[in-house]
């Protein structure tokens, strides 16, 4: 497995190079000059645009630009944005908030999603099962910006249970509702997946064997049944860390959270690519690494998987 891990890591190198090149290339090729709109009502003077282009290296050939980007990435030197503020500082402020939000969302997905799925799978057709089936259907049919605005309006504006927007500190209690919103789709899907998996495994021969061994019901369910049923669920949760990131951008926008999403949102609107490029690169890395970890986790969870 160690060998496999190393090979997979090596495979990441060309993928990272390719995706970051595309990000760099696309971003600077987008229509509209990023500097043209920065002088109020009037178009900026050509001399200003030329000076800025030079300052940010845009007059260089694309490959040279890309080479500089890679050098800066490896040394952690991201320079400044168009307003002269250090990009690294902005990233450093925003990342912890997004990570907190994402971790809370994953925790909700795992705890609520798996819990609901197990309960409804064990008692099919029961009250809990019906509640779970209906509520997951509702969640799955709502895009997260709808869920987000809805909860913000009901809990924040109408009932005043929460503040409609999150403060700069973005503390854990403040992030509970946004994290639930971010988690909602995956949570519903996790519940359904867990339920299906439990129902399927409940009829498996090895569960019958566990009962025939004279084990307590609790042990049959918590050890034998759950251990097998959770394999696809945990794999799903891991794979979806990537999509959680794009969900985080929307959620942060709705609740005005100053995380990576908010940063990216504002940078795209201001066409400030000095921020868009490193943020997009980080998102790609998170996605790739989490996928690699899932593949390795799968082998740990299921001994039948052999890595070649």
């Amino acid at each position: 497995m160690g060998r496999y891990a190393i090979r997979r890591l090596l495979q990441l190198v060309p993928v990272v190079l390719g995706t970051t090149f595309i990000i760099n290339y696309m971003v600077w090729q987008l229509p509209g000059d990023p500097f043209a709109g920065r002088c109020g009502q009037r178009p900026c003077p050509d001399s200003y645009i030329t000076a800025m282009r030079e300052q940010f290296g845009l007059d260089q050939p694309i490959l040279v630009q890309y080479w500089n980007f890679l050098k800066n990435l490896l040394t952690g030197n991201f320079g400044t944005d168009f307003n002269g503020v250090s990009v690294a500082t902005q990233l450093g402020d925003a990342w912890p908030i997004t990570i907190r939000l994402a971790l809370m969302a994953v925790a909700f997905e795992a705890i609520i999603g798996i819990g609901a799925g197990v309960l409804s799978g064990l008692k099919r057709g029961g009250f809990v099962d019906n509640v779970v089936t209906v509520s997951t259907l509702v969640l799955l049919s709502l895009p997260i910006f709808v869920t987000g605005y809805l909860l913000q309006w009901i809990l924040g504006v109408q009932l005043h249970i929460i503040e409609p927007t999150v403060s700069d500190a973005a503390t854990v209690p403040e992030l509970i509702v946004p994290a639930l919103v971010l988690a909602s789709l995956n949570m519903a899907f996790t519940a359904r997946l867990t339920r299906t998996s439990i129902v399927e495994n409940l009829r498996a021969d090895y569960v019958r064997t566990a009962v025939a061994k004279g084990l307590s019901n609790r042990r049959v369910v918590a050890i034998h049944l759950l251990r097998n049923s959770l394999i696809p669920v945990l794999t799903f949760l891991g794979t979806e860390v990537g999509s959680l990131m794009s969900g985080a951008i929307i959620t942060e926008g709705i609740f005005n959270i100053h995380g990576i999403g908010g940063l990216l949102w504002r940078a795209i609107n201001g066409q400030d690519y000095t921020i868009v490029v490193p943020v997009a690169t980080l998102l790609v890395l998170v996605y790739l690494v989490s996928n690699l970890l899932v593949d390795l986790l799968y082998g740990v969870l299921d001994p039948r998987i052999r890595y070649e």
């Binding site: 498996a204 025939a212 004279g214 097998n228 299921d302």
Partner: protein, 343 residues
């Protein structure tokens, strides 16, 4: 078996056999209707005895065994009548926790397909050790040592090195040995083996049957051997119960049944065994289809397929007639069937 429980169950003093299935009825309620899978099965096994349960697919052999173990799928299954007495106590009336203690300690079971019956994500040694840990409170380390000893006992080569391997890393025969080791871990008094060799190669089948017979002799267990294979039965079984349509149609000591079967169905089964002296001849097969459990034939369930059928067979359900102290046949015309001998 805990002391309290064995006392309560009046060890040996109840007069009957160790395990007695008495007029058991089980049905499955499904969308298609009510399938009467077991319709009054009666059989018994004593310590040291081997009972072979025979019958074609769907005759209710496994459902009976699952009901004894208490692992029947309920729903859709439902026990609608009868008793299962273990040491004289009706298991069907025991509360869940006492019933659970009997599984593994009093009565154990080996399943047909060991690959699916073993848990794929735990090492085999762990699965065997779990018996000691959960029933006896043995420590992890000791339980593992005991698991290795058991694996040695069922003759798994290099048991010590393989104790941490997973089920998929073993061959079919070895997996079945592991299944057997797990079943006999706590020295049960009854072992039920439900077609333990059906999924295996012929040579491996013989080894597994040999192992079961040997283990039984050593520990004086009662063995219920469910099988399709009449050839195997003659070597290991003491007595036979033949099932048809969820009933016992004939029970007899093994040699009596082989010499002169007293039910047309058992007779048909015997005639369908390939024999060396009949090489080249066409094999006899019982004509017709197994009964539809949703709509059992009236009278004798075997009548649509029976060459001995008379008019009353269609209307009168034959009881299990006593032929002698140890023999019974559920055929109105059992005398004729015996007298006629081989057809």
């Amino acid at each position: 078996m805990t002391e309290v429980l064995s006392e309560q169950m009046g060890r040996g003093s109840h007069g009957g056999a160790l395990l007695e299935v008495d007029n058991l009825h089980v049905e499955f309620r499904t969308r298609a209707g009510v399938a009467k899978a077991v319709n009054g099965v009666t059989y018994s096994v004593d310590a040291g005895e081997t009972l072979a349960v025979l019958g074609e697919s769907g005759s209710g052999k496994s459902v009976t065994a699952q009901t004894i173990m208490g692992i029947l799928d309920m729903p859709p299954g439902k026990i609608t009548g009868g008793e299962i007495r273990f040491r004289g106590v009706d298991l069907l009336k025991l509360p869940d926790d006492q019933r659970r203690k009997i599984r593994g300690e009093g009565i154990s079971m080996v399943f047909q397909d060991a690959l699916s019956a073993l848990n794929p994500v735990f090492p085999v040694g762990w699965q065997i050790a779990e018996m000691f840990r959960m029933h006896r409170g043995t420590s992890r380390a000791d339980a593992k040592k005991m698991a290795v000893e058991l694996m040695d006992r069922v003759r798994i080569p290099a048991a010590k090195e393989r104790v941490n391997d997973f089920p998929h890393q073993f061959s079919g025969g070895m997996r079945q040995r592991i299944m057997i080791a797990m079943a006999i871990a706590l020295d049960p008094e009854i072992l039920i083996a439900d077609e333990p060799t059906t999924a295996l190669d012929v040579t491996v089948q013989a080894q597994i049957m040999g192992l079961l017979a040997e283990l039984q002799r050593d520990s004086n267990m009662g063995l219920i051997l469910i099988t399709h294979d009449l050839g195997v039965v003659a070597d290991v079984a003491d007595k036979i119960a033949v099932m048809y349509g969820g009933r016992i149609v004939e029970n007899a000591p093994v040699h009596d049944l082989y010499r002169d079967p007293a039910h047309p169905y058992s007779k048909g089964l015997l005639e369908s065994i390939p024999r060396v002296d009949q090489k080249g001849q066409e094999l006899y097969a019982i004509k017709g289809l197994p009964p539809n459990l949703l709509e059992m034939p009236t009278g004798c369930a075997f009548h649509p397929r029976c060459p001995y059928r008379r008019d009353n067979c269609v209307t009168d359900v034959p009881p299990l007639y006593t032929i002698s102290g140890t023999r019974g046949s559920a055929c109105h015309y059992w005398r004729e069937v015996i007298d006629e001998g081989e057809r």
